[in-house]
Structure formats: structure tokens, C-alpha cells
Amino acid sequence: MTTVEPRVVPGAVTTFQVASPDLEAVVRDLAGLRLADMFAGGSGGSSPRASRAASNGEQTILRLVWANDTQGEAGYVITETPIENGEYPALSDIAPAAFVEECEIYEQFGIRPASGKPLNRIMLPPHADLPTLGRKPRSEPEEQHAPHLVGGQAFEFPFGPVRQAGVESLYYGLVTSGEEVVDLYLFTWHKHRGLEWRLQGMTPHDALFLAERAEGLSAVAMTWALAAAAEAATGIAPAGAAQRTRAVAAELERLYNHAAAMAALCQSTGLSVGQSAAEIALERLLRLNARAFGHRYLFGVVDVGGASRAPDADAIREDLPAAYGEFRRAADALLGTNSFVDRLEATGILTAAQARGLGLVGPVARAAGLTADTRLVPGGPYGKQVTAATATAGDVLARFTVMLAEAAESVRLIGQFLDAGTAAGTTELPRTGGTGLGWAESSRGEALAWIALGDDGRITRARLRPASARNWRGFDDACRSQNVFTDIPIIEASFWLTAAGMAR
């Protein structure tokens, strides 16, 4: 096949075939774009030859999803590359953002970058024989995975997986010389629930049930992305009112997540009064969710082809100002507390170069000066009325201020959507095969979903990529950026990620 020079069509997804030998050159050309995701498997209607080959398992299709974040011409590009010999060019050497996915693909399909460098353990637990999406790794992962050895005058401080009360299970290997943080790595494989494996063979409607439990704290974004993918695959468009319903739910989700992040920041800095204030706002926002949509965490709002529940607009108009008032007052009081602000300033700095290189998304990227916000993609309910809040410092304080600005923006948007009219109701999906990419902006950043439907309308391959899967990668760099032990919880709170989303 011949290589077409990939171009971004604003507001659309364009797919290109790239031959395996050309892949490296194409990746170099696309360096201007953000590598949003990379995954393998999934025969699609787009390339019948590939589908045939993949179906009898001699060949895996490698898909790279590129995003253009510049306002106005935001859009996505997908490159499809058939991989025959179980190896593909070492992309992470050119685009570091590809690394985590390289490891995942190796664990799931047994194909690995040609560089032969060791890979990290992402999802497969050691000494576990779990079903995988494709062929099992040719050699035992133990040989392929990088060893964690600590030499010289440092030692590894083991933290987790069972950590302090009320947080997710997560393991930090904190390599320290007794005083400074030398290195840090984390394991999330003990939360791997095999969601992408479970989704195979489901109808998109059933798939939503698991998708919203992939990362419960961004259930709306995840389900929206999956539903949008299914709609793109079958070529239907939901009604505008239903789209706005989804958007209202997404913005409410962003609001309560930012409130929760604020509470976590206060807890990590030991400011319990601020934590209480933030938690009051959080609880009021959650009750507002329950009253408006019937679920505190907005489960079951998004449905394929539309929305299954309509918001109680009056309830939102009635409660939102008060709830957001709590949020705003708590935030202002926090920004007026010097001990708190000083703790956040110049902590956990991520430069724009780091964020771009690692393909980070959401407030973390925006706080570093990048405008990565899928709400800017033309089409969809948002239109042109969103302004992405950004900062330049890239530290925890910048992330916090970005969150506050986004919260204000969300309130404004919710008002607009309610005025424009929201409604439940779904458009029936035709039973056709096809592939599609869907996205939504969760509070953590871009949530992506790619879906391949068989001719019976059931899923043959679904790829879920919550924002956490991306941003955890930036976390250890942020922790390594300075040498203070006690900053790590603060940085974790400012990222506000979930291990569930990372492990799926």
C-alpha cells in the first residue's frame, strides 16, 4: 500500500493506511500533533484485507491516534498499520508518549517494538495466566520486563498497595537515598479487571454498563466517548437535545471532581478546615447530581444514540448557584491562605515540553500551557463557546487555578445548555459493522474510545483510554522534579487520577 501524507480535517476523524516500513517516517512527520492513543487489534471495515488477515490471526493492526489541539482546526487522525512479523518500529524512541501503550500492546498481543529494550509491567500481574486480547507474549514477561534494581546508596521505600484508608490500591516504589526522592515507579496491575477483554462480543448498550465502571469518577465522559464511538461506527448522530444532556452531565461531573480534587489538596497539605469546606461543596454537588439525574455519580445517564435520562433543569437552576457558591467561597478562602498557596507553588513542576512529549491531557497539560481540550473539537454540543483555561507555571498551584477556572466555565456552560434545552431519548443503532473513534473531555482530560463492530452489531474490539491512563505517566516525572518526600501526596492530589482508569 502507498503512504498518503496524513492531514487533519477539523472536527473529523481521518484514517490513513501506513505500511509498517513507513511508520517511523510518518510518526516523525506527525510530531507536531499529540499522540493521543495507540492500540492494536480489531479488524475493521475500513480495510477488508486487514480484517481478513486479523481474523485468522496471522497479523495484528497497529493503530495510532493523533490529535490536533490547536483551536479551530482541532481533529483526529488515525493511522492503521498491519504488523506481520510480531515487531514494529520502536516508536517510543521518537514519540515517548507511545511507551505505555507499547507495553500494553506487548502484554495483550505479544508484539513488541523492534528496539528490544525492556518494557514496563502495566496490566498483567506477575505469574498470572490471564486471557489476553491477542496472542500471548512469546516470551515470559519476567524476561521482557525491566528489572527494578536499586544500587549504590539508595533503597526502595515500599508504599502500598494497601495505602491509607479511603484511597485506591496502588503501589509506589519510592527509591530514596534517605533524604531525597531519587526515582519513583508505580504498579497498578492489581486493579486490572480486563475490561477491554470483557467488552468483546457485547452490544454497545451493554458495554456502557462496564465502561462507566472503568473509571467511575469520570463515568459520563467514558460512556460518552464509547457511545460516540459506536455512533461514529454506525454513522448516526444523536439529537442535539440529547447531546446537550450528555454535556450537562459531563460538566456536572467536572464540577464535583474538581471539588473532590480541592478537598484532596487540602488533605495532603494538612489543612483540614479547608478540606471540610471543600467537602461540603462536594457533597452538595453530588446531591445536586442525584436530584438532577437520579445518581450521585451520574451513572446511566449516557446511552447509545442519546441519553437515557433528562436532567431536572429546575433542580439544577435551583441548587447549582448555592452549591457552586460553596465551591467558590472555599476556593477563595484557600487562595487567601498563604500557608496553603506556598505549599502548592513550585511543587511538582511539569514543563510544557514534558507534557507534550508524554502526550499528557487535561488540567495537567493545560497548567503547563498546552491547549489540549476535546471540547474545542468542532461539532458536538459545545460548538465554539468553550474557552480552555490554561496556565504556564506547570506546578500544583497552576493546576489548581486551572481547575477553578474550569469550574466557573462549567457553570456557565450548564446554564447555556439548559437554556438551549435538554432531553432524554435515543436514536436506534442500525445493525451494521464498522469502526469509530469517540472522545469526551473528563475532568482529568481527554477520554478516548475506539470501537469495532461486527456485522451483528456486536463489539469485536473496544479500546477504552481514560485520561488517567495518560496522566499517570507524567506523575513520576513531576515527583522526580524536586527532592521533597512530602510533596508526593500533594502532587497526587493535584493530578487527581484513578488507578482504576489506569489498570481498567
Binding site: P96, A146, G152, A154, F155, P161, Y171
Partner: protein, 673 residues
Amino acid sequence: MTPLDFLYAAAAAWITAALVGVLAARTAGGLLACCAVSALGGVAAAAGGGWSLVYGDTPVVSPGGATVVGGPLQLQATSLAGVFTALLGVVAVAIAWYAPRYHTPSGGTALYVAAYNVALLGCLAVLTAGGMVTFLVAWETMSLACYLLILRHPRAFPVARGAFWFLALSEAGFLLVVAAFVILSAKTGYTTLAGISAHSELVPGGWRAAAYLLALTGFGFKAGLVPLHVWLPEAHPVAPADGSAFLSGVVVKMGVYGIALFAFRLAPPAGAWPGLVTMGGGAVTAAIGILYAMAERDIKKFLAYSTIENTGIIVTAFGAAMIFHASGQRALWAFLLIAGIYHVANHGCYKTLLFLEAGVTEHATGTRDMDRLGGLVHRLPRSAVIAFVGTLGIAALPPLNGFVSEWLIFQGLFQGFRTGSHLTGILIVLAAGILGLTGGLAVYAFVRGFGIPYLGMPRTRQAAAASDDGQPAGGPALLAVACVALAVGAPVVLYALGKAARTVTGVTLGPLLLPGNLTVIPAHTDFAAFSPTYLAVFLTCALAVPLLIYLAGRPRAGSASVPVWDGGIVSFKPRMQYSAMTFSAPTRVTFNALYRPSISVSRPSDDDPAGRSGPVHYEAQVTPAFQRYLYRPLVRCLEWLADLVRPMQSGDVNLYLLYVFAVILLAYLLGAV
């Protein structure tokens, strides 16, 4: 019958041992025989030394009118040397018990044990020298023999370098010592030590001070006073375990003996300031020694630096004693002399023990790097127990012997207010403060020095494979017993030392030291008192208390025992435990100005932005300040001078003849004048 006769026996035994060694130690049997004879000599020396404490000084004799390099061979067993001689004997026995299992019989070993026994002989001769020529010859013999025994494996460069450091510094010291002796004998007209000390009043004050300072520096090179200490951390790691044990346990003490000789016996300098200089030097030595010890991973280097620290403590005591003498506090003068010498004996025992155990560890695991050891208490239980006794001793924890002598030293220093002068009083208490810091750091350092290698999990496969069988245990065990004896039997020791002190200083402490019923008093009844014996007994009983509490409070119902809570990780890995350097990281940060560490980190994420995980390596290298900023410039300057005189060495025979002629001519002219 005098102590000297025992010492003759010891000398004879060691000469025989040296001969047997050089001839027969190629075979296991020969090595065993050599060590047996050497041990006999040790017993004799110990007996002679111990007896000479209470016997007093013997007259100076020159057996058979023998001569050494033109001077008569003059011998004398003195009370001052008694403790050193006894220590020499005990160490000799312990090492002789240890060596046959440690060394593999071979030609190299044969030469080594020969050199070692000659070194023993040299030390004995230094301690029993009655005249200055004898002393100096013995001193050189000892130094050269030690140089040879450090060179056990001369192929390796570090060995050659360590040995060279030793030889260079000890020769430099030797010249100063010669000068000091020449001054004294020239001013008094006597060559026997007894004669010099009897007529020391003939030496004018300035010359006394000069002689003392020369001696302090000269012997300081051997004793390892900062900044003359650099040979210890270089030479100790490269010598065989028993060799470095001998260096630390005895040879370093020879330097201390020399200082004591000039400070208390021959011609004690007048005035307080020589004492202040000595005390200050000692205190600085102690602090810097232990601080560098904290930064060492190599067990033997660590022990070498701790030796420097202990020398510092002893010399501090001597200095304070001199100050008290100058201010007329004769009781405290004698008391601190006793305390210092007591510490000599203690340190000789437990430091030798620890070096021997370091040798066992190195044999069993093939490494001396603490961060490659761990968990040895399960694999080397015997040496773990023995090393634990030694560690308690050197960390100066009750009820072991280190505590007793350091308690005495502190009690002496705390009475600095009795000097009358406020300045000296304050300075003495200041020195006590520095010693306090040193003591605290020493506990910290030896918690690390024992905990990292012996406790926890093995950090390497070699450490996991270590095994106890075939490892020598007898010698260290003997020393452990000696440590306990020196603690529990403190009153007896102090009685003997009191007698020795009377011989040296003429002060009778008697009840001021031992009022009876096993109690010790620091020279003044109104100050403090304690009984090492009762303390030891009490603490041993106190150990039972937790046991009783447990037995009383243990649950009547069935109780479950579960593993320690580890956060639910699959399994602990050795990389997850404290390493030697992380343990001392707080000190490293606090005293950053002294250490000036050069930190190097290598982690995969540095050269690979993708965040590939992999081996992480972190190094913080401490700068050896004295080598770099003091000795290296010195060496460079010497090289520069050598370049200056090189043109003289043209290699032309006629030119050399001209030199000879010029010299002869000069001599004649001088003669004519």
C-alpha cells in the same frame, strides 16, 4: 625473677616462631606450630606486662653487653609500658589462635607470619627499650616488619599504595622522634630513658616543649592523629584481617605509648599549653575520625576510622591530664593517665576482635562492602554473637568495658573546673563536649556497623550463601571474654593501674580511686562514683525484666502470630531495606561541609524520556579532604623539588667524582677550622 624474664621468654618464643614460620609455614603443620610458639610468647608477654604493672620499673640492664648499631642494648620493663605489653601478649595469643584457620599455608603465608612475629618482637622491644638507641632501632624494626605484613599480596595496586602510605608516614614520624630523643639526651647527657627522666630538670623549658611537640607529631603519625592519620584507612583494608587487627590493636598503640612516654615519663613539658594542644588535637581527631567512619561502607575502612576516633579519645585524656598536672591537680593528673591507659587496653581488645570478625565476614562472603551483606546473624551466628560483644564495647554501652573507661575519662574532664583558671576549665569541658558528640555518633555508627551486615535480609547471593563452618572463632572469642573481664573486673584492673600510676607519677590515689566494695571514684570523693561490677550484674538482671513482663502479660487465651504488616506487597525484597549509606544520610546532610559528597545518579528515565523502568543507581562519594587538600599539594611540591635537583644527576662519572672531591675538601676545611 623480674617481669623482664617473662619478656625474654616472649622474645625468644617470637624469634623461634619467626624462624619456624619462614622455614615451615608452607605446610599446615608448620603454620600451626609457628602459631603455637607465637601464642606461648603471647602468654609470656601478657604475664610479664601484667606483673610489671604492680612490680614497678626494673633496673636498666644490657644483657650480655650486646650492642645494636653501636649503642648498648639496654632493656627495662616499666609500669608505664606494662599495659601495652600485656595487651600485646593478649592480641598475640588471639591472633595466633585465629591465624591457622584464616591463612592458607603457602610461601607467601610463610613470609607473612615471619614478618608478623618480627613485628611482635619489634613492639616488645619498643616497650622494653631502656635506652634511646634501642628504642629507635626497635621502632624501625617494627615499622619495616609491619610494612612487610601489609604487603601480603603485593601484586594488587591498592595494597602497594596502602603499604607505601604506611611506610612513608611512619618514616616521616621516625625522623621527628629521633630529633626529640637527640634533644633530650643532648641536654641531659644520658642515653637511657631512666637517666633522662631522672635528670629531666636539666632540660630548659623551651627545649622540653620542642622535644615534646616533635615527639607528639612523630608518634602522632603512628597513633593516627588528624591530620597525620591518612595511612590507617589506606593500609588497614589491604592487609590480611589479622594483620590489620594487629595494626589497629597494637601498632597504633605504640604511637600512643610514645606520646605517653614523652608526656609523663621522660621530660614532661612545663605549662598548660602543651596539654591544651594535645587535648585539642585529640578531640578533633576523635570527632573527625567518627564522622569519616559514618561515611564508609567498607567494614575495614570503617573500623580504621573508628580506631582514629579512639586514639583521639585517649590522647584527649592524656592532654587533660597534662593540664591538671600543670595546674597542680596531681590526683586528677594520675587519674586521667589511668583512664587513658585503661581505654588503650579496652580498645586494643575490641578493635582487634572486630577486625578479626571482619576477616571472617570477608572469608564467608567475599566482600567487605556493608551494602552487599545483610542477614549474617542467621548464617554466621557465632561471629554475630562475638561481634555483638565487641560492638557493645566499642559503642561504649554499659556494661561493657568501653563504657567503663570512657566514663572515667568523662568524669576526669568534667572536673576541669578544678584547674583554677577559667579558660582551661572551659576548654577542658569543651573537649568533653566534643567527646560527647563523638560518643553519640559512635553509638549511631556501630548500630549501623552491626545492623547492616548482620541483621535484615542478605543483599547479595554471596551474603546469602555465607556459612559458619571452618571459620575461625577461638581468637575473637578470647578477646570477647577479655572485654567482659575488663568490664566486670574493673576494680582489679584499676588497682593494678593505680600502682602503675604511682610508679610513673608518684601519686597514690588508693582510696581516691577504689574506696572498696567494688566502687570507683574519679579522684575526688565529692564528685561521682559508680561500680562497674554491680552495674554489669544489675544490667544482666535487668535483661530479665522484659521477659518477666512478657511472661506476666502474655495472653492466656490462644494468640495468633502473623507476619509484620507490609502494606500487602507480594514479598519484601532486599532492595527494600535500609542500606548503610541511607542509614547515615542524615549525618551526611548535616555535616555536608565536611564531607563535600559528589553525588551521581543513574536511572533509566534520565536518558530515556519514555519512562522505561530499570536499575537505579545512586552514589554519594565523600571527598577525602586531607588526602586531597593537604597531602596532594605536599607531594606535588616534593616532586617539584625533585625536578630542581635532577640536573645534578647527569650520570657522568667524572661529575660524580667531582662531587666526591668537593665534599671531602669541604670536610677537611671544616676540620681545619
